[in-house]
Homo-oligomer: 191 residues x 2
């Protein structure tokens, strides 16, 4: 049921080093906005966790953070609800054409996904190979299998075989719920 | 099935002005830690949303936020999964003994809860009357009914009648899922 890999996309774009990770995030945020507006699903990106050390109050109604540090996230970036089910995922890009390095995902993020799936939730990862301009949804269980064998990365072919290519459209930009529909609710992927 | 109101608790404690909101949050975080450890549920507090304006890099591996501002949250503070269901709630304290002011909860937080419930999720609010040392769980729908009538606050009696008193224990500290069990899964609240 997976799409064949290596399909050439016409909407290729230049992704700068500075924006690494931004483009996929922007696509997902646009998609989630669409889902929200259309009352299809409520899925949000969690704010970046920050430790705040110093706050100034230049006026009674204003607070300015003057010292803060980024914390390592203990959960994935995105969660929400679709068709009554709890949805949880992480999204990552790689410029690599042949592998997806698993160092991109923290161990406690994988542990978090495991817990979610064991409680009956839907947990997955969205991987974009930016150079190929291909974006895949791959279920958590496939990632766990790979890490069990102490693999340090996922081969592109593995992602092709076990994952699902997400089509890039105008709106919704990255309709990943169509794939969730197909896997969990028997929806037709080619509709 | 609700507990009678006005029960005197023996574990009263002094809550300072400075810590307003912290104590309930601490109780909920401890409870969520327990749920996570016992594999009962995965429920996390979302990080506070912040707009970052200026970041310094004193070394290659260190990033220090030098200017940031608090954003108004567009969702509730807590969400997660319990028995396969999506759970979403906000938690608020008031020092008022007679009413819970609805200005404590932003309109888009209520809209968010409405969307969650309409998609089949479980949405509620946990309210603590700190002076009375009583903590209630009240379903989102009851709050919406009140705001529909343009009420600016919920009477304590209303919260007593429509809500459920959450017992404070040693561990889990604030077993709010027992009430969710009762409402949604037919669990015995007095167990």
């Amino acid at each position: 049921m997976n799409y064949p890999c290596g399909i050439k996309k016409t909407n290729s774009k230049i992704i700068s080093y500075g924006n690494r990770g931004m483009s996929l995030e922007a696509d997902i945020n646009l998609t989630n906005d669409y889902y929200l507006k259309e009352k299809v699903a409520v899925i949000h990106k969690k704010p970046t966790p920050i430790t705040i050390c110093k706050v100034d109050y230049p006026s009674r109604y204003e607070a300015v953070i003057k010292e803060g540090y980024f914390k390592t996230p203990s959960t994935t970036d995105y969660n929400g609800i679709y068709k009554g089910k709890y949805i949880d995922f992480e999204a990552k890009e790689t410029k690599n054409k042949k592998i997806f390095p698993l160092s991109n995902i923290h161990k406690h993020q994988l542990d978090h996904l495991k817990s979610i799936i064991s409680l009956g939730g839907i947990g997955f990862i969205i991987i974009r190979f930016t150079t190929l301009n291909e974006t895949f949804l791959i279920e958590g269980n496939h990632i766990f299998d790979a890490t069990k064998n102490e693999k340090k990365s996922l081969d592109y072919d593995f992602v092709c075989k076990k994952g699902y290519l997400i089509k890039v459209n105008y709106n919704p930009r990255l309709d990943y719920l169509k794939i969730i529909d197909h896997i969990y609710f028997g929806g037709d992927i080619n509709e």
